[in-house]
Amino acid sequence: MNKRILIVDDSFYMRTMLKNMLTDAGYEVVGEAANGAQAVEMATSTSPDLITLDVILPDNTGLDVLKSLRQVQPTAKVVMCSAVGQEVIVNEAIENGALAYIVKPFSEEKVLEIVGAALQNDAEQTA
Amino acid sequence: MADIELAASSSKAERAKPVEMVQLIVFRLGDEDYGIRIEQVKEVTVTPEVARMPKTPPFIKGIANLRGDIIAILDLEERFRLRPAGRELPERSYTVAVEAADYTLGLVVREVPRPLTLPLSQIEPAPEFVQDTGARDKYLEGIAKLPDGNIIIVLDMRKLLTPSEVMRLPGKTASK
């Protein structure tokens, strides 16, 4: 079965680009959230295998959203997305359970590699 | 209004705790009174022009245009075999539009349906043993006994209106 991914990013452009990259690679994008509240709601309703999470979101910092997501959907892998310059937050995110981070602007290869690795991690844990 | 008085008199005993009330839309099928919870009723209207639809069981009168929605019109008298001989539906009948999970259906009735409020406690749950008789008893929520001795059969639309129930041909229920 295709792995199901939720994209959280406040930029429509970024979401679309990520979505195209992921669906082209055969993943199923089950939802796109533009803010923290939507993210938590969609994570609950869609139970994704993986969530890509922007570190800076309008209604909340990405970190708070990460903590909520870890609560409502503890099995979902979380990969942070960030442009350079926000390494401090990213490091804190990793400490709070995010598996990896993708630095914007990202290449398709890099995104697929990191997402693939994060999901691989999932397979190992269940195996 | 009769229904309001009814509510007031029965709530006197437990003034401290408000009694849970139920609002029903009551209509006649054959010689019996039937009720549906008002939450399940979308509207009551004079039956619009019904177009007979081939390939449907006889109790589906056809389809009608209800404010742009095309809905199926059901005749429960025929479905439950309650129609007294020689009493066809009158020229001017009424349609109770009821809401199932994700669609609307119309139930055609002879007389103007009336609202009735009564305490929930007056509705007795339907007895268990009638589960498999295939007709109306399967769709009962319960039976309401009014102080004047009249009885209202309360239907649970959610049980009645599943697509497979609606499309079930009455002659085929037993054999299949």
Binding site: P58, G85 | A51, I63, I70, A72, L161, P163
Partner: protein, 546 residues
């Protein structure tokens, strides 16, 4: 031609302009209240997004400017700098410069130089005072003439467009009703108003349909990846040629055919095109060619999947159809290529693995057919053994309005979509023969079976239709010849009413399980009219013919 890159660019532009507007708004707020937390957070976020998006698009100068401003706003947010004095001036200049850059990108012009500004931002970040050149003071006078920019693009949920389309559908129906009334009442003023309403609602309908159109490219551009993957799994070399990406089609139609197209393309690569060795043996170039193209033909959109592979082995399909009991050997022998290929679209037929081995075609073609049927579209096949196969999907441009023929049976109107009608005939009894209990006539040199539509509509149970006799044919017969999958069938009706454009509403539950009806439409009179589904009628006739 709209490529994915162009779409990204449009999205980027729309969002960048939106960001720029928000920035200007938040800056004015900050000017009034220099410590407004939410405004600061927003500015920081907007700069951050603009930086990331600009870099992804390769607009490094814009990204650089946003990056510097983001850093500075980070410092202001953390209260290491205050939004006052010279800093304010540099920030405003910086945001203006970004606006100019975004506009330049939109106009395909070179980005203005902003080196001096970047240096000033650097100074502020380092805690130094900015340095202004003389003529910069004059520039602030231009502020007054600064243009306000709103995005030219609006994102809208498809659901909202669906709703709009439905409402327009309703409007058109009422319009027709008013038109009828006006003609009946014969009041010149009313008639003139009705005609005006007619024109306006026509325009409105056209506009709503137009708003739903997208370039076929949004789907076609997904295929290079699919083809690459399937080809590499099969160890084939395939050159994919795309064309017609800018052909416009309703977004929902594109959605519905996505799987069908995916099916056809995968099939073409894995079964249609030969292996390198086979191609070499056949004297063909080693690289297989696959063309995915879209074009407009009258009101329809054609999407073609063309390969230069092995083609369909018609004789193998013919044998298989007989083996599977779809036809008899005698009849099979008389069928032409098109009629034989039509078997490929029969559900289940194609599941036989042998067919795919021999003909290289077939897996799941019935699925393709079903998607097209649901849209009232058609599938055309051309194939030459050894030279290749072309599948053409004929699709309506828009879902909303379809041409239909209104007919009457047992005093009730029914609509038949024109897409499936061939012709109408008034037949005299002597033009009709009875063969094996089936009425038959000849049209364009071909035998066409006839069946009273009333029989099909009222048919119940599993028994075949009653045998037809000569007595069934009394007087002239009104016949509508329909065509599905290259099979002609003459429906005997009571009367033809007229041809009319209709808006088809889907049947709601629980009636949507009756496949004989493709939906329902409201006539100008307000009457409910069922829309007949020709594919389902044809299938019913084939299974029930005596």
């Amino acid at each position: 031609m709209k490529t994915r890159d162009q779409e990204y660019r449009e999205m980027f532009m729309a969002e960048a302009l939106e960001y720029y507007d928000s920035m200007s708004r938040h800056l004015s707020e900050l000017e009034r209240n220099p410590s407004a937390g939410p405004a600061l957070n927003e500015l920081f976020r907007l700069m951050h997004n603009l930086k990331a998006n600009a870099r992804a698009m390769g607009f490094t100068d814009l990204g650089e400017m946003a990056h510097h401003l983001e850093t500075l706003f980070g410092l202001i947010r953390d209260q290491q700098r205050t939004f006052s004095g010279a800093l304010t001036r540099v920030v405003f200049a910086g945001v203006d410069a970004m606006g100019a850059m975004i506009r330049a990108i939109g106009a395909n012009q070179p980005l203005p130089d902003a080196q001096a500004l970047i240096e000033n931002l650097d100074r502020l970040v380092r805690g130094e005072e900015p340095v202004f050149e003389e003529d910069e003071v004059a520039e602030t006078d231009e502020e007054a003439g600064k243009k306000m920019e709103l995005s030219d693009l609006v994102y809208i949920q498809v659901k909202k467009l669906d709703n709009l389309l439905n409402l327009v559908g309703e409007l058109v129906i009422d319009r027709d009703r008013i038109m009828t009334l006006a003609q009946e009442l014969d009041n010149p003023a009313l008639l003139a108003t009705a005609q005006h309403l007619f024109r306006i609602s026509d325009d409105l309908q056209y506009s709503v349909m137009d708003a739903r159109l997208v370039g076929v490219g949004v789907l076609l551009n997904k295929f290079p990846r699919v083809v690459r993957d399937v080809a590499s799994a099969e160890d084939k070399e395939v050159e994919l040629i795309l064309s017609g990406q800018d052909v416009q089609i309703d977004r929902n139609i594109l959605q519905i055919i996505t799987d069908a197209l995916l099916h056809l393309v995968r099939n073409a690569v894995s079964h249609g095109l030969e292996t390198k060795a086979q191609r070499q043996q056949a004297g063909k170039p080693l690289v297989g060619h696959l063309t995915l193209s879209a074009m407009t033909e009258r009101d329809d959109v054609l999407i073609q999947v063309r390969d230069d592979g092995r083609g369909i082995d018609t004789e193998a399909v013919r044998r298989k159809a007989v083996e599977r009991g779809l036809t008899t050997a005698n009849i099979a022998a008389t069928l032409d290529e098109q009629a034989v290929w039509a078997f490929l679209f029969e559900p289940g037929f194609s599941m036989a693995s042998k067919i795919t081995d021999i003909s290289g075609r077939g897996v799941g073609l019935d699925v393709v057919k079903l998607a097209l049927d649901s849209l009232g579209g058609q599938l055309r096949v051309e194939s030459e053994l050894g030279a290749g196969t072309t599948f053409t999907l004929v699709l309506p441009t828009s879902i909303a309005v379809k041409g239909a023929l209104l007919i009457e049976v047992e005093e009730r109107p029914y609509a038949v979509p024109l897409m499936h009608t061939d012709t109408v005939l008034a037949l005299q009894p002597e033009q009709i023969s009875v063969v094996g209990g089936v009425l038959l006539t000849h049209f364009q040199g071909q035998p066409v079976p006839l069946v009273p539509l009333q029989l099909l509509l009222n048919d119940e149970g599993d028994e075949p239709l009653p045998l037809a006799t000569r007595n069934d044919v009394q007087g002239a017969q009104q016949v509508l010849v329909v065509n599905y999958n290259n099979r002609r069938l003459g429906l005997v009706v009571d009367r033809f009413i007229r041809q009319q454009n209709i808006v088809i509403k889907p049947l709601s539950k629980p009636l949507d399980t009756i496949d004989l009806f493709g939906g329902v439409t409201l006539l100008g009179s307000g009457q409910v009219c069922l829309v007949l589904d020709v594919p389902a009628l044809t299938r019913l006739f084939i299974t029930k013919r005596p």
